[in-house]
Symmetry: C2
Subunit: 356 residues, 2 copies
């Protein structure tokens, strides 16, 4: 599993004419080595790789990391990396410039005079965007837990509860059903607050007649789920039903259209142009979706500006939404695996408007 990931990364390094890469971003360190601690760097050379961490993780490394040399250090990880025995002679070392700090690079440069530092972008992220079977299985398990939580939550929600009450219940059920943690703080946005796509749960009470957007996910073996349903508490307005139908239809045609080889921005356009045609274009204020894995947001990005191309094995969210100030918002989000043919939809919760 890790051998294949390292081999894919090495192909990518060779294409960029690099001898090695220093990986400092923790989700990528975990992806390449299995190490899940809070302090780690990873060096990937043509034939060797090293994981660097500190003494707190001595036991954890033994459980998690196999077939990779481990360096336990008391120094900063940049200092320890500069001391690796791999830097004999001149070489081209890639550094992921979005993640390595200015101080970290200064430490490396001070010690490694014969190394040429080459700024790279998204090398590991592009490899990690194509999921293997074990990764998809973990995401599937996380999706399954979140869907069981959703079934219980729709029984639980009652007018008079606060959004925070519902968020607390979601987090509790995630853990009780076997997740490691919430993937992110659950979003529970009711009534007018639904018009804020990134609203967290608040102490606002849920009232009868309101729409409630529930956006939540959990983590299994480090892999995340990310689902959204908007439900009605009591009888919704006709306007809400109409907008809901637009979002539901936009999501369905986007899921049906997703294929490997397609430009991500073209897929965003499928949902966006449908919503625009229905007259709500200016109210769909975010991108259609994003890759999902060890990070809740990762490559590929499915937006109108994205330069990514969808590939077989990408796991992505499809989450159109319409947000009308002073009225509220509706979003529906599912997780799919991109394939050469019809995508595999990991989430199976009903997409029709549920009236509680």
């Amino acid at each position: 599993m890790f051998e294949q990931r390292l081999a894919a990364l090495r192909r990518s390094l060779a294409q960029s004419n690099l001898d090695a890469l220093l990986v400092t971003y923790l989700p990528h360190v975990r992806y390449l080595t299995g190490f899940s601690g809070s302090n780690g760097h990873c060096f990937v050379g043509k034939r060797t790789e090293y994981l660097l961490t500190d003494n707190r993780y001595r036991d954890q490394v033994k459980e998690e990391v196999h077939g990779i040399r481990v360096v336990i250090t008391k120094k900063s990880l940049s200092e320890a990396a500069a001391g690796l025995p791999v830097f004999s002679g001149s070489m081209r070392l890639g550094i992921e410039s979005q993640y390595l700090s200015v101080a970290g690079l200064a430490t490396l440069k001070k010690r490694l005079h014969r190394v040429t530092f080459v700024k790279t972008q998204s090398l590991v992220e592009r490899v990690a965007a194509i999921k293997d079977k074990s990764e998809i299985d973990s995401i599937r398990r996380a999706v399954d837990i979140s869907e069981r939580v959703f079934r219980r939550i729709v029984e639980f929600v009652r007018p008079g509860m606060t959004e925070l009450d519902v968020a607390a219940e979601i987090g509790y059920l995630h853990r009780k059903l076997g997740a490691e943690a919430d993937a992110f703080e659950p979003i529970v946005a009711s009534g007018r607050r639904g018009a804020l796509p990134h609203a967290r749960a608040s102490s606002k009470k849920i009232r009868s007649g309101e729409l409630v957007t529930l956006d939540f996910g959990c983590r299994v073996k480090g892999y995340n789920s990310d689902l959204t349903r908007t439900v009605a508490v009591g009888r919704p307005l006709a306007r809400a039903r109409k907008i809901y139908q637009v979002v539901q239809d936009a999501q369905r045609i986007a899921i049906e259209a997703a294929r490997s080889g397609m430009a991500a921005k073209a897929l965003d356009g499928v949902a966006r142009s449908y919503i625009r045609k229905k007259g709500f274009g200016r109210y769909f204020s975010h991108s259609l979706g994003h890759g999902l894995g060890l990070q809740v947001h990762e490559a590929p990005r499915i937006s109108s500006l994205s330069k990514d191309v969808l590939l077989d094995g990408n796991v992505v969210t499809i989450e159109p939404g319409i947000y009308i100030p002073e009225f509220g918002g509706i979003r529906i989000e599912d997780d799919i695996v991109v394939r050469n043919t019809h995508p595999e939809v990991l989430s199976r919760s009903p997409r029709e408007l549920l009236i509680l």
Copy 2:
């Protein structure tokens, strides 16, 4: 409140002969401006300051940020920062080199030819280490919630439950009692697993006769609590009682010794030398404590290597522990405010060994 923080930072900039500072680390951006979103930079000049963020946070900024100019941008924040109208002429701009990425600095340098970039370290962190009254009040509220959770948890824990069951209950109660979130994933480590200071909760069942270490905290207005108690489920071994007493005494004398003006490493030494004298020196494998605020771990660091000096208004944890492989571990952690006289102890849960 923010005016005072900005004024303190400006004094620090003047001492370093800097005209301005670009702040890219989110907890520091929040500290200086109040903005709690997930994408923000802050520029602090001699007379002006700017907050930069993106369109998702347009409404949130209006609620959270007052008296500071706001720039909403579609560009990367480094690009947008380079476009601020403050960079006319030559100037010395501080950048926090531990946090600014190599890519971010490259973007700034490409646009700002007349600016001299000066790498700084911990400028904001040192200012933020001295808490004002409103910050201490938020931490006190977070501590209060966590202590109420602890009182309920000791009624809840029963042999046969898993560690994850207990962690789920902690997270649930935090939110139900009004916290925004857990400060970190609760640590529940029972029996031999207690010997791993950083063990998270697992699916291991808690058995009668075991010690259980509970390390948890919550967040109120962005500020964190961080508490640990080790309890016995059923009758503990005499050896466990003896070690518990050593940890409890070490913690008490360290709390009593804490004073502003004291070297943090001297305070670490107070607990460490006591534990060493009792014969457990090699089993106290981490530092005595750390600053606590918008981050769970921040300045000052209370370790044997720390160069920090304790100052009036620091909020720190005092958390000695003894970890014996194959046997288990004991840790007791409280949160205190450092003063010129006796410290103010924010947490009041009993420190005696509780037998459930």
